[in-house]
Structures are given as structure tokens and as C-alpha cells.
Amino acid sequence: MLHDQQPLATDQQPPAPNLSLMTARLYDPLLKVYRNYTARVFLQAIITIWVVMTLTFVLVRLMPGNPVDVLVEQILTAEGISYQEAYDRIAASFNIDKDATPLDQYLQWLGDLLRLDLGTSITSPGTKVIDEIARFLPWTVFAVGTGLLISFVLGIFAGMPMAYYRGSKLDHILSFFSSFSTGVPNYIWGLLIIIGPGISWRWFDIGALRGTYDVGLTPGVNAEFILSALEHAALPVFTYIIAILGTWMLSMKSSTTGVLNEDYVNVAEARGLKERTVISSYVGRNAALPLFTQLTISIGFVLSSGVVVEEIFVYWGIGHLLFQSITVRDYTTLQGVVLLLTAVIVFSNLFADLTYGLLDPRVRVSGEK
């Protein structure tokens, strides 16, 4: 995995001989960057993000209908004015330059991005995209993060006994559960929660749990607000937990099964160490290591798959913003959200790549052979 640790040889072979000296000089630092693992991974991440950005830019402009048309339709029926009148009025209120070609828009957008400026929303002028994202993202991060962490911990504790007592009744029951957990889509779990406990058994009032906190409360550090926020997040979080738990259980099971066959576990048992010590310090820790990488990688996946869940629970997170911006064709917001989600995925993968060697020294050793 990490074939980077090879020391950079000073007498690397020079670039192809037919190149002139000048190109060789230009080429050399690039080559050096390429040979450095960390730099290379960073470079790849940046390129990936750029490709996705460009792709989104193109795709978004290929969408049929544009924000002006969407609104023109609305006021045409409402106010009964001529199309041109409506068009001019909407176009004037929008924050767009009608004459800019897509290429101009693209270059402008790239330039703004370099200054970390995601632009302003097309459909609600004056609202900065970054502010919109900052308004919606924390809720998603909160819900997804809590769900992911709780399911991770539960999965580790449920997966170990599955490996220890392979083939037992416990293993069968937990495996069966994990099939449900992994197979059933998360939004289907959400719908089941709404229909079962929510509507048929009336354990809680679904209608009151819409949004991210009770209407009328001011966000801030006070007990009422925090309690309300927790209440509203409970159902999405619970859905995420159920839907991801099975994956962690199975990963932990197969990881533990592998570790149980290792010599050092046999040795530890032969040394007469307490079973609890062997389980926690020898088996558990080693088995959980590869799962941390999976955890970082899955962040992006869960973030993006939460769109439907948020829509079902009417939980106002980033998925809600994305869905809204698609319906009204708010190009800039849409681009901003997709860019952000991609960046999260790319950087969480990057983080996993870079930290795995730190977490698990064996990887470094095996990479060096």
C-alpha cells in the first residue's frame, strides 16, 4: 500500500535522453513530487476534486430548464403579465450576467473558488452559498457523525463475539440481523420507523419532529434548544445506526476471525494470560485497526446517502439543501454542495491513506519489501 517509504535515491535515472536540458530541468521537480507519496496523494486529491468540479459545472448547465424559467412560470400564472415582462423582471432580480458565456462563467467560478468564494445563490440573491451550506451542513454532520460513531462502536462489540462463537446460535442471529441491516436501504428503514412506531403505535409525534429544532427556539447554548435539537435528530440518527450497523458487525467479524488465527494470539493464550486481556489487548485492538480506515472512508458515503433519509424525516440538512437547489435549478448552490461533498469524500480517503501507516506499523513494514 505505502510504497512511498523508499528513500528517494539521489541518483535517480534522468528523464528520457531525447529531452532537452531545459525540459529535463522542468521535469525533474515534478518527478520528485510524483515520487513523494504524500505529495502525490495530495496532488491526486486536488485533481480529483477539479475533475468533479468541472464535471458538475458541465452537468448542471446541461439540465433542462433554468432558474429563470422556473420562476417565470410561477409568476406568469400568478400575476398574468407577458412572458417578456416576467422574464426581464426575474432576470434583473437574479444575480447573473446573461451575456456571460459558459466558459466565462467557468473561469470566473474557478477564480472565485481559489479565493474560497463559492459565489452567491442564483435564486435568492444576496445569500452566499457558503452561508447556506454553513446553515445546513452542521445538522447533517451532527446526525451522520453520531450515527456513524454509535454504529461503529456497537458493531465492534457485536462483531467480536460473532467471530469467537462462530457457528453458534448467537452468530446466526447476529448474522441474520446484519443481513437485514445491510440489505434494507436506509430510507426504507426510515419509512418503517415512521409507519410502525410513529404512526401505527403513536410512540412519538412525527409531525412535531420535522425540521432540526422546534420552531420559535433561538439557537444557542441553552438546555431547551439542545434538548430539542437532540429530539429532532433522534430518528435520522437511529436510522443511520440500524442501516450501517450490519456492515461494521460483518467487518469486525471477518477481521477478528483473521486475527484469531494469528500466532501471537496463540502465544498469548499459551502464556496463560487472562482471557479478558487476550480479548481486549491482543484480539480486539488488532482486529479493530483496519476498521478505522473503513470508518474514514465511509463518512463520505453516508453523507451522500443521507439525502433521502433527510427528505423522509424532513430533517433540514445538506441533503435538503441539495434537493431544494435541484428543484429550483439554483446552479451555484448545487455546485457548491456537490463540490463540498466530493471534497469531504476525497479528503477522508486521503486522511485514511495517510494515517493508516501511523495506526498500523505492520503496513509500513510489509510495504517496504
Binding site: 491526486q44 439540465m63 448474522s175 441474520f176 445491510t182 440489505g183 453523507l303 439525502v307 448545487l334 466530493t342
Partner: protein
């Protein structure tokens, strides 16, 4: 004479296939959950591909059966003095009332000659003058029976705002037969249409779409994955980089954006798009598998025997991957299912075909999801999808466990 080898083949091929199938099922039966999953999939196949030929799609809106609960049936209301009139036969020669735009008129059609039919007009959504007027006539013995849906009778009687009318109905009207007409096994939707018939017809396209998505993704992954593992070098680097690039894009979100661009004329077309989106993870898995198989002893042996590359690929490596490919195919079908139904639930996919996903979409948008009586409209497809996915996963796990313990431990 020349026909005899041909004949032999004709006889032996189906036999071999049957024997193979028998062995497959036999070995699968050692894994109980997997066998259950397998039987479940067969059941799904039967319900969604064969039953639509026998069950008609109920497309006739009937106002009095709005979101009826499970097992709802048409009922016969008569005057309290005549409880013996408990069937349409018993009412021969009498006058029976029906309300238009409800299940009544079509139900009473076969008895048109023996009964006098009094038609009432349905006007408002719930308590229009239609049904109260009919019930008033019934209470005053102007008609002898009234065909109506149970839920509506209750609503009209119990929720009647006019106290005098309510008293009149409660004193005079009884239900003499509550099991007229075919039972709606899964209740009715917001338009009084039979949900069970929608369930039978709504799965085929979904399953086909998921299958198309899964097969396309698996084929791409299988071809380019094994190509890059076997060829190595630049090709390997290129496809790995491409797969990594695709993996970094939030795929479901890309699909959501794409759904805004491409007008999916057909749901099946959606399957192709999904297939083109979900191959990268699969490609990596298959590439890793081929890489590991390539180092196995039997491949080494074939290579040292000087057998051709074609032989090694098609005779040594691919057959040993068949169950692995099957497992990956099944998992990509579950992903394709996830993607397409997610899109439909968001309302971004075509709703021209009345699939399980569209039922959920309407169940949400028309509010039956939030009504315990009408929950069946959303609950039935939700359960159907959930169980289908579970069957797939159980089956895939069983294939993994029963047919390929070696691959699993190597992976």
C-alpha cells in the same frame, strides 16, 4: 448417423443443467438462511413475473374506498327491520342503492336484471349529500339496501355533524353483510384501487431495472478489472485511477444531478445509467480477486506447462471466479435497487410506470403514510422492497459461504 452426437448433446445438456441445478440447490440447502433467501427470490420471481398475467391491474378510481385498511370489502347496509336481507340474492326484486364513482356500480352490474337500482351521486370528498342522502332514504325505507364501503358508512354515521341525522342512521341502519365483494388483501389506495394488484404489477420493472444495472456494472468491472489485473502496467494504472476517480464522486448525488438532466423515458433506461455509475467499487474487487488468483498454484502450473493466455484466462481463472462474480452481481443489484428507489422516493425518476417506488412516493405525497388506516399503500411496497433486498443478501452470503470458503479466507 450424423445426428447421433447431436442427439446425445440434446439429451445430455438439459440433463446436465438439471443435475447442476439440483446440486446447487442441494448444497445451498445446507445453509438455512441462504436457502430461505433463495426460496424468497423464487417467490418474488413468481409474484412479479408470472402473476401479472393472471391478476388485473386495478386502475379504476373508486371514491368510497379512500385508503381502505387491509382486508376491506364492500358492505351491504339494510334497514334494522330487515336483517334477513344479507345478500343480493335475498334482495331480488327489491331496490338497492349505489353511489356513483364508488365500488358499488361495477359490483352490482351482474344483478342488473334481478334488482331495481337506485343511483346516488357522490359529490363532495367525504360527506357529500350522496351517501347521507342514500342513508336517509334507507332509513325511511325508500330503498331496501345500500351497497357501500365499510369505512364510508362508519365515517358518515359516526362523524355525522347533524345530530338528528346521526341518530336516524344509528337507529335504523345496520350492516347485514360485511363481506360482499372481493376482499382487498392489502387494502386500497387513495383512489380506492386495490393495492394487492398494484403490488403484483409494480415489482417487475424495478427488478428488471436493478438487474440491468447490476449486470452492466458487473460486465464492465469483470472485463476491465481482469484486463487491468492481467495486463498490468499502464492499463492497470489507468483503470485503477479511473475507478478511484469515480469512487471519489458521491455516486448517488451524481445520479440525482443526472436525473435532472436526462429525461428517463423508461425506467429500464435508468438501469443502464445506474450500471454505468456503480462499476468502480466492483472493478477494484474483481481486479484484486484476479490478482490473487493469478498467483495461485494451479495458475502457476498452467503457466509453466506453457498453456496459452486464453486457456489460462478462460479455463483456469474465470471458472474459479464464477461464484465471486455472482456474489458481486447480487450486491450490485442491491445497490441498483437502492439508487433507483431512492430517486423515485425523492420524486426525481419517472413515475409513469406504477412501481413499488412510485407507490411509496404517492403514499408520502398524498399523506396516507401518516394515516394508520391507509398506511398499507406505503407499507406494502416498503416491506416488499426490504424483504427482496434481504433475500438477495441472504442468498449472496450463502453462495459465498457454501461455494467458496477458500476465496473468502483468501480475501
Amino acid at each position: 448417423m450424423a445426428g447421433s452426437p447431436m442427439l446425445k448433446l440434446l439429451v445430455s445438456l438439459p440433463l446436465d443443467l438439471l443435475r447442476g441445478l439440483y446440486r446447487f440447490v442441494h448444497r445451498l440447502s445446507t445453509n438455512k438462511p441462504g436457502f430461505v433467501g433463495f426460496l424468497g427470490l423464487l417467490l418474488y420471481f413468481f409474484v412479479t413475473f408470472i402473476m401479472p398475467d393472471f391478476v388485473e391491474f386495478d386502475n379504476e378510481p373508486k371514491l368510497d374506498q379512500i385508503a381502505g385498511p387491509i382486508g376491506s370489502r364492500i358492505q351491504l347496509a339494510v334497514h334494522r327491520d330487515n336483517p334477513q336481507w344479507d345478500s343480493l340474492e335475498a334482495l331480488a326484486g327489491k331496490t338497492v342503492g349505489v353511489v356513483d364513482q364508488t365500488g358499488g356500480p361495477s359490483f352490482i352490474e351482474p344483478w342488473r336484471d334481478t334488482l331495481a337500482i337506485e343511483k346516488y351521486r357522490w359529490t363532495s370528498r367525504r360527506q357529500g349529500p350522496g351517501i347521507p342522502a342514500a342513508l336517509t332514504d334507507l332509513a325511511n325505507k325508500e330503498i331496501d339496501g345500500l351497497l357501500i364501503f365499510s369505512k364510508t358508512v362508519n365515517q358518515v354515521i359516526v362523524e355525522q355533524e347533524d345530530a338528528e341525522l346521526r341518530q336516524l342512521f344509528q337507529d335504523n341502519v345496520i350492516i347485514s353483510n360485511s363481506t360482499l365483494g372481493p376482499p382487498h388483501l392489502l387494502g386500497t389506495d387513495t383512489q380506492g384501487r386495490d393495492i394487492a394488484s398494484h403490488m403484483v404489477h409494480g415489482g417487475q420493472i424495478l427488478i428488471l431495472t436493478a438487474l440491468i444495472g447490476g449486470v452492466i456494472a458487473t460486465m464492465i468491472a469483470l472485463f476491465f478489472g481482469s484486463l487491468s489485473a492481467l495486463a498490468g502496467g499502464f492499463i492497470d494504472k489507468f483503470f485503477t485511477a479511473l475507478a478511484n476517480l469515480f469512487l471519489a464522486i458521491p455516486q448517488f448525488i451524481l445520479l440525482v444531478v443526472l436525473a435532472g438532466i436526462i429525461r428517463f423515458d423508461s425506467t429500464l433506461y435508468l438501469g443502464v445509467i445506474i450500471g454505468l455509475l456503480i462499476w468502480p467499487a466492483l472493478l477494484r474487487a474483481i481486479r484484486a480477486q484476479v490478482l490473487s488468483l493469478r498467483e495461485r498454484d494451479f495458475v502457476e502450473a498452467a503457466r509453466s506447462l506453457g498453456l496459452s493466455m486464453n486457456h489460462i484466462i478462460f479455463r483456469e481463472i474465470l471458472p474459479n471466479m464464477s461464484s465471486y462474480v455472482l456474489i458481486n452481481l447480487i450486491f450490485s443489484i442491491t445497490i441498483a435497487m437502492y439508487f433507483q428507489i431512492g430517486l423515485v422516493v425523492l420524486g426525481l425518476a419517472p413515475i409513469s410506470d406504477y412501481t413499488w417506488g412510485v407507490m411509496i412516493y404517492f403514499g408520502r405525497s398524498r399523506g396516507t403514510l401518516y394515516n394508520p388506516d391507509g398506511a398499507s399503500m406505503a407499507l406494502s411496497p416498503v416491506l416488499a422492497i426490504a424483504l427482496f433486498q434481504v433475500c438477495l443478501v441472504l442468498f449472496a452470503r450463502a453462495v459465498e459461504e457454501v461455494f467458496d470458503p477458500r476465496l473468502r479466507s483468501a480475501g
